[in-house]
Symmetry: C2
Subunit: 291 residues, 2 copies
Amino acid sequence: VEVKIMLINEICKKCSLTQKAIEYYIEQKLIFPEIQNNGYRDFSNEDILMLKKISVLRNLGLSVSDIRDVLSGKATITLDKIYHRKTLQIVILQEKQKLIQELAAKHDWEEIQDRLLQLQKKQTILERLMNAFPGYYGKYLCLHFAPYLNEPVLTEEQQKAFDIIICFLGGINFDIPAHLKKYLDEIYLNFDEKMIENISDSVNAAVHETEKYIANNHEVIERYIAYKKSEEYKATPAYQLEQVLRQFNSVSGYNEVFIPAMCQLSKSYRKYYEELSKANEKFAERYPELE
Amino acid sequence: VEVKIMLINEICKKCSLTQKAIEYYIEQKLIFPEIQNNGYRDFSNEDILMLKKISVLRNLGLSVSDIRDVLSGKATITLDKIYHRKTLQIVILQEKQKLIQELAAKHDWEEIQDRLLQLQKKQTILERLMNAFPGYYGKYLCLHFAPYLNEPVLTEEQQKAFDIIICFLGGINFDIPAHLKKYLDEIYLNFDEKMIENISDSVNAAVHETEKYIANNHEVIERYIAYKKSEEYKATPAYQLEQVLRQFNSVSGYNEVFIPAMCQLSKSYRKYYEELSKANEKFAERYPELE
DNA sequence: TTGCTCCTCACGTCACGTGAGGTGGC
DNA sequence: TTGCTCCTCACGTCACGTGAGGTGGC
């Protein structure tokens, strides 16, 4: 009994790919069809499945190297990383769109040039942040710092601060125990944009209108403090993570190098940081049991 | 007296470009520095100005061919075209982002594949619309039709309708008198997103809640009708444009081919179109002076 | 034998990057 | 002469596209 073999043209139609594309994926070792005696390729069912997935991922805008990562297990985590990288890119694209519009309207080349320079610094910092702190934490930091990175870099001090930040973020070795990494990844996958917005809204309220926030959220705050002090909390991975982050921030230079440089680079961040410090003082005054 | 000539390295710093990039732009005939006896290039001040602009435009994401268009006069119109092309691309990117997220969450490859197919058809139609009708009118049509292009193409009839649409848009020769084209371009440059939203909101109100709209906007409607009937209006380019569009729509197949195919392709558009027809009837009933 | 498919190989795309090898300027 | 710059030329990148030339299947 002979089994009829599918010709490459049929495979092309089944997977909506061109012959040359398929040959390229073979060259790139994404699939491994056997070669028959007559030189024709023999595509297995797995090959076909792979090619269909490759086609989807290419159409979604992934590079072949990204596709390799997605298809070699860990699809969820990899796709999420790609998603957040691309989100950042789209944000940058949108800011560039605004600049194109302004250039069309006012033809002020020098202003656009300056704004582009700023935008590139912002992008560099955010990209490094994402690389330095993988998963959810990096994303959170990006959202946290992004609003303060829209200022022009005018003085030499600012330029130095920028270089320090880039250097700091480049040298980071954010290594935490495997089970905490897994925990972070889980948080990360369950977070959506809305939750992050809600959280940052309430953090903003606590920082900018501390008295009001304290007055309105008495119960929540006290329950929070009680929970933080409980043995129950100390048994959670969240507690361990907090400890590790505290440790990391004081040892790595995050508190001593990175944050001061951010204050140097961005006036608005410095302002925010000062307000944050005041808010912390007020909280400590009102709730001395917070260490 | 000898004039010192700037070396390419200085030019690189002045324009924030690499040497190789500059050599590439020379090869692409974007600038034409003279070559001296010793083989060194002599960059004029215009060359430097050009290189600065090229650098800005490349950083804004334009291709060299786009840059050629921008720099050869007509910067405003060209940049606007590019802006709208890129806006469409960003919209598509955002829809792809959603698909990446869903793929990461549910791993339903077949569903994503189907949605991608839809998305590609939508993109094709919108791109062809933009090409077929230049400037403001194409943009308006895109915004008008985009919401109805999110349905899957399941039946053969739909596929045929899609092919008819593509074929129709490909064969369009939207040629209108030069002064009307100029008038369209002017409208186009003065339109921003908000105005378009406002307009489409009130059109929607008029179509979906016709009675209410008529009841609430009596005065405006009557003033509008009076203006449309006036000699003053008939002297405007807006009137001439209206006539040309009416003519075009009945002759080109827009009314007889394109709109029916849209109704075939998209159930939601068919529904909209029926409501529109009803609304037109109601207006004609209430205001018989509208022809 | 004819007309179709398959295969491999080479060169092209876009906007440069990365050397290699040779010359000019001081 | 030395160390630096400039020049041209060739090859590489990424994900294929486009033939060319030769073979296999029916």
